[in-house]
């Protein structure tokens, strides 16, 4: 197993953990940050998959914008899940 495969394994696991975290987290702000984490990892994975264009887009849109609109929406509503 090459170091690349290990890296991918780690990234995938991190991604799944982040996903589970954002699904189960009661604090929505943290959940939104969880999706942001997913996007960061995703962006790296895209880079590893030789897709720099997509990685850049994911970084700009997934990490930054998407998270920010989530945060704004949370600000406008309730922060905590009942």
């Amino acid at each position: 197993m090459s170091w690349l495969a290990v890296l991918v394994l780690v990234l995938v696991v991190v991604q799944i953990i982040a996903a589970l975290f954002s699904v189960w987290q009661k604090d929505l702000l943290l959940a939104a940050l969880g999706t942001s984490a997913i996007s960061v990892v995703l962006s790296v994975l895209f880079y590893l998959l030789q897709a720099p264009d997509v990685a850049l887009t994911e970084a700009a849109i997934g990490v930054a914008l998407s998270t920010i609109i989530f945060v704004i929406a949370i600000k406008k509503t309730d922060r905590y899940e009942e």
Partner: protein, 113 residues
């Protein structure tokens, strides 16, 4: 292979959130996780082992050593569309919160039968 499993797990986790979480924002979070999963899956479908990114930035690069560019182009579009959906969904969530003062989907059931 690992990519596939990771992507599919993301899709399933996202769907699980959509199906069971009561909070509207959580549901939207679920939708965006599903989107991420689909995008990852699509890019990995286009991957070719030991190939480079499909950009002829150096003369040494040749066409037969590049990954499939089509999925990348499609995913670019898909990411933007996902963002648009998320934005509209969040707008609706804000509206719903405005009217119902709650985010619990079980309490937002005026229309039925």
């Amino acid at each position: 292979m690992l990519y596939y499993i990771g992507a599919i797990s993301l899709i399933l986790i996202g769907m699980y959130a959509v199906l069971t979480k009561k909070n509207l924002l959580k549901i939207v979070v679920g939708l965006s996780i599903v989107d991420s999963g689909v995008n990852l899956l699509f890019i990995s479908v286009g991957y070719v082992k030991d190939a480079t990114a499909p950009i002829f930035s150096m003369p040494s690069l040749t066409a037969d050593k590049m990954v499939d560019p089509v999925p990348q182009a499609l995913v670019l579009t898909a990411i933007v569309i996902g963002l648009a959906t998320t934005a509209v969904a969040l707008g609706l969530v804000i509206r719903l919160y405005d009217h119902h003062k709650t985010l619990n989907i079980n309490k937002i059931r005026q229309l039925k039968w």
